[in-house]
Every structure is written in structure tokens, then in C-alpha cells.
């Protein structure tokens, strides 16, 4: 299976409850002492496209291999697409929508 590079969307209590009520809590993982996170996978080409679209974002090549520092509004949009599609496989649709 090809390597994927995550976008981490950190979830506050309000969103956690919303995801739980929508039956989507299983999409969440726990990290860093109980913090809830939606881990949205990107392929290498999706990662490169996202970094090109949002130059302020950074790929943490050294530690986590994840795409970080995306603006909150961008992550909110990805979050909304995950909820609407009830799936984490949203990055192609997201990139097309930009």
C-alpha cells in the first residue's frame, strides 16, 4: 500500500459530540493524552498539491510526516466534507473544489 501523509484536524468537545451523534466517532483517533483527531490521509501527489495551494502550510518531514499549519478555514472545509461524505477519503474532492 502506498504511503500516505495525514492532515490532522483536531477536534474540540463540541465537534466530538456532533460526530458522535452522527455516528462518525469511529473516524476519530486519540492522540497526545486523549486529544481527538481526524486523520485525513493524502497521497504524495495530493500532499504536494495541498502544499502548492497553501504555501503557509508545512510538511513535517522530520517527525510526523504530516501536513501541518493549514489555515483553520481550510481544515474546517475538509472537516465539513468528511462529515458530509462520512468518509476520510475526501482529498481529491477537496482539491477539485479549491
Amino acid at each position: 500500500m502506498a504511503e500516505t501523509f495525514p492532515i490532522n484536524i483536531w477536534i474540540n468537545e463540541e465537534r466530538f459530540n456532533a460526530l458522535k451523534n452522527a455516528g462518525l466517532a469511529e473516524l476519530l483517533k486519540e492522540e497526545l493524552a486523549g486529544m481527538k483527531v481526524l486523520i485525513v490521509p493524502c497521497t504524495a501527489s495530493q500532499r504536494d498539491k495541498v502544499l502548492e495551494l497553501y504555501p503557509m502550510a508545512k510538511f513535517d518531514a522530520a517527525t510526523t510526516k504530516s501536513i501541518e499549519l493549514l489555515p483553520k478555514a481550510v481544515k474546517d472545509k475538509i472537516y465539513d466534507m468528511v462529515v458530509a461524505k462520512k468518509s476520510l477519503e475526501v482529498m481529491d474532492d477537496f482539491i477539485k473544489s479549491v
Binding site: L32, M35, A61, T63, S66, K72
Partner: protein
């Protein structure tokens, strides 16, 4: 009392504090304006942060620094401190070797520059020797390639001390002032924590690890037992300088580091925060050596070095800085490095732990500064085991007060934030 700095040489202090004398000294000198970048380095040189260098480097020192990681006299030195200038500026200001020039900042007198040498040096050679790469994606290399046509070398004398603005005022101490304060506190062993970050718990534990390591061989009777009787301490020395978008703003770094002490995560008498003006070069191992030199000049006895010290991207191995420091003979670096492994959160242990201690390797959740920044950007309050709530509150306050709504450097911050210091009329 003479103070001894890096290389066993007297601490450099080239500062004229008598304003009348300063006015006399600069009378009739030709003037040349300097950028914030050059002003910062002139201030650093004059106060002795970079002892034993007394001025911007001449070619022999640059050559030795690049090729041998030494000054021309054999003192360990890792990063060139250079003054670059264009041919046009040399013509416009009629600069000649042997001139004495008044450097000005914001239109006010800053320092006298004795121009002893005008020279050229191959920038690609600096890049390869200092940074280990010629790629301009590396921020230090990019800075090197931006140097102008020539370099000026010679002694610097500060004639007008900088005025440090709030909230930094109480955090800026010269090397002499650091040493005097350590003397008053009775600190005999002091370990440096180099930082350009707001602290998460991983950083906090690195500091605690280094503190314990720095005085672990003392009898417990000599280790502090009562508030106010510490003989060893942690100095968090924040680097304040050139920023890149996405970095924490400097105000948040300094105030959040101090919050760890204010909120009791460190005792009042064993923890202190100060700052040093320095533009990070991200030179990884060579920058680690430079940090060790600066902290030697501040009077510290130990320096903590963690994973990926002063690195960027994947240019250096995680512990390459440790290996370079270990290769330097002890008598050439008068500070004891403390090498620490990273700390991570272990859900099995339910605590933050050293990766070298914990047996639950597959379960460990590593800290990443970038990941923590991402959590804060998402406006989610991290759990207290990961990020202290008092520190989070200070980050958010700084965001409003200094960061135009963001705790991270934005284009607006770069354009509008005031520099940490100003130079007033003399």
C-alpha cells in the same frame, strides 16, 4: 573584575556608556545606515555575546571558520559573522579600508565601525562549509546567497545602547549582567535551554532532565532543599530575531517560557528566562556549536542539546549536533553539553516519558512542535499533560495583544510588528 568568555579570553565589552564621550567620538565621522539584521549583530558583538570576536570578521577568520570551524587564532568558531555591502554602497558612502564609520539605525547613532578590511568571499563555499548544502531552500543558505558584493571586516564599538521595548525589557541582559545576576542568585551550575518555541510538556521535561543531569553528582546537601537556596538553575535563553511565517511570535515565546516558572512548574529560584538577539541560521550542528559559544559567554556551565538542534527540514540527522559537539576537545569549549533524548507521551504509562526509558515503544506518541502549533491553530485547547493550561492562556493573550489575532508570525506581523529594540537619539 575581568570576566572570561569563550576560548578562555576576556569577555568583549566595547560599549561607550558616557554619552558626552560618545558624542565626541562620533563627531565628524561619516555615517552609514544599517539594517536591523546588521544592527542586531553589531549589538551582539559589542556586548560580548560573540566573544572573543571584537568586530565583523575579516577574511582570515571567515576562511578558518568555514574550513576548520575555528577563528584564525585557533579558537573554535562555527558561523561567520559578516558585514555585507554592495559595490554601489561602497561608492555612495566613499568607504575605504582604514576608515572609521558611524553606523546608524533608524537615523540615530549606533556604533563605530573601524573598517580594517574590504574583501570578497565565495558564497557557495560558505553555504557548503557551514550548512552542508548549496540548496537555496535552506534558510541559512538563502541568507548567504543574499549577501551583497563585498564584506567589511573590523572592530565595532557601541556608542548608543539599544532601548528594549516591552514586553522584552526585563528579559534582555548583557553577558556581564547575566553573570552578575547568577552571582547574586548563588548559582554555580547553570544549564541553558536554547529555544525559539512556546514550551509544550516535551520541552518542559527536556529542561527538567537537563537540570537534574547538570547537578546530579552533587551531594544532596548541596542540592537545593529550601526555596531561595538553589545553587543550580535553568536559564531559558530565547532567541529573538528574524522570523518566518508560521513561527511563534517572539512575545509569546518569551512570556510563555516565563509562565512555566510563574505557574510553579519550576521553582522561582531555579528557573529564569532571558533573550539573545540572534537571527537563526538553522545550521543544525554548526549552529549548536555557536549556541554553546554564546551561552559560555553568558556565564553558563552546561548546555542542553536535544533532538534536531537548530535544524531545518531533513538537512541534518536527528543527533548530528551531538556528534559534532562530541568531536570538539573539552578544553576548547568551556561549557559542558548535556545530550538528551526526546520525551514523548506514553498512553500506557499515562505520562510524558523519556523515549530512552519507556518500554512501550509502539505506543509512544511523539511530540512535534509543528503538530502542537497545528492544535493551537485549530483553536483546540490541548490536554494539560501536553501543554500547560496557563501557558495556553498566555499564548492566546499574546495572540490578541501582539500578534494581530494569531500567536504565529503572519505577513501582517512581519510588516507591522515593532522590532524588539530601538535606537534613540544620542
Amino acid at each position: 573584575m575581568e570576566m572570561i568568555g569563550h576560548g578562555g579570553k576576556p569577555l568583549v565589552e566595547q560599549v561607550i556608556t558616557d554619552k558626552d564621550e560618545a558624542r565626541k567620538m562620533i563627531k565628524d565621522l561619516k555615517t552609514m545606515p544599517v539594517s536591523r539584521q546588521m544592527a542586531t549583530e553589531a549589538i551582539g558583538i559589542a556586548y560580548g555575546f560573540f566573544s572573543p570576536i571584537e568586530g565583523f570578521m575579516k577574511k582570515a577568520d571567515v576562511e578558518a571558520t568555514c574550513k576548520k570551524m575555528e577563528l584564525a587564532d585557533g579558537t573554535v568558531w562555527s558561523i561567520p559573522i559578516v558585514y555585507d555591502i554592495s559595490d554601489q554602497e561602497i561608492a555612495d558612502y566613499k568607504i575605504q579600508q582604514g576608515d572609521k564609520v558611524l553606523l546608524t539605525y533608524d537615523g540615530n547613532p549606533l556604533a563605530i565601525f573601524d573598517i580594517e578590511e574590504i574583501y570578497t568571499y565565495d558564497k557557495e563555499s560558505i553555504a557548503q562549509d557551514v550548512y552542508g548544502t548549496k540548496e537555496d531552500k535552506h534558510p541559512g543558505v538563502k541568507r548567504t546567497y543574499a549577501y551583497k558584493d563585498k564584506f567589511l571586516g573590523g572592530k565595532i564599538t557601541l556608542v548608543n545602547e539599544p532601548k528594549i521595548r516591552e514586553p522584552y525589557t526585563s528579559y534582555f541582559l548583557t553577558p556581564r549582567q547575566h553573570r552578575e545576576l547568577f552571582g547574586k542568585k548563588g548559582w554555580q551550575r547553570i544549564v541553558a535551554h536554547q529555544t525559539r518555541n512556546v514550551p509544550h510538556s516535551g520541552h518542559e521535561w527536556l529542561m527538567k532532565h537537563a537540570y537534574i543531569a547538570a547537578h546530579g553528582d552533587l551531594p544532596v546537601e548541596q542540592q537545593e532543599t529550601l526555596e531561595g537556596r538553589a545553587i543550580s538553575g535553568v536559564l531559558v535563553n530565547c532567541i529573538v530575531g528574524e522570523k518566518r511565517t508560521g513561527d511563534y511570535i517572539d512575545e509569546a515565546i518569551v512570556l510563555c517560557q516565563d509562565e512555566l516558572r510563574k505557574s510553579g512548574y519550576f521553582r522561582n529560584d531555579i528557573h529564569m528566562v532571558t533573550m539573545t538577539f540572534w537571527d537563526m541560521r538553522y545550521a543544525g550542528p554548526r549552529e549548536a556549536v555557536h549556541h554553546a559559544i554564546i551561552r559560555t559567554n553568558l556565564g553558563l556551565t552546561h548546555h542542553m542539546f536535544g533532538r534536531d538542534h537548530a535544524g531545518v527540514g531533513t538537512y541534518y540527522h536527528s543527533y548530528q549536533a551531538h556528534h559534532l559537539l562530541m568531536s570538539i576537545p573539552k578544553e576548547k569549549l568551556n561549557i559542558t553539553p548535556i545530550y538528551v533524548l526526546e520525551w514523548a507521551y506514553c498512553p500506557h504509562c499515562g505520562e510524558v516519558t523519556c523515549v530512552g526509558l519507556c518500554g512501550h515503544h509502539k505506543e509512544l506518541q511523539k511530540f512535534s512542535g509543528t503538530k502542537i502549533r497545528s492544535i493551537i491553530m485549530d483553536e483546540v485547547k490541548p490536554t494539560r499533560l501536553i501543554f500547560r493550561p496557563e501557558v495556553f492562556d498566555v499564548v492566546m493573550e499574546c495572540s490578541k495583544k501582539y500578534g494581530y489575532g494569531s500567536p504565529f508570525v503572519t505577513t501582517q506581523y512581519l510588516e507591522q510588528a515593532k522590532p524588539a529594540f530601538s535606537i534613540e537619539p544620542l
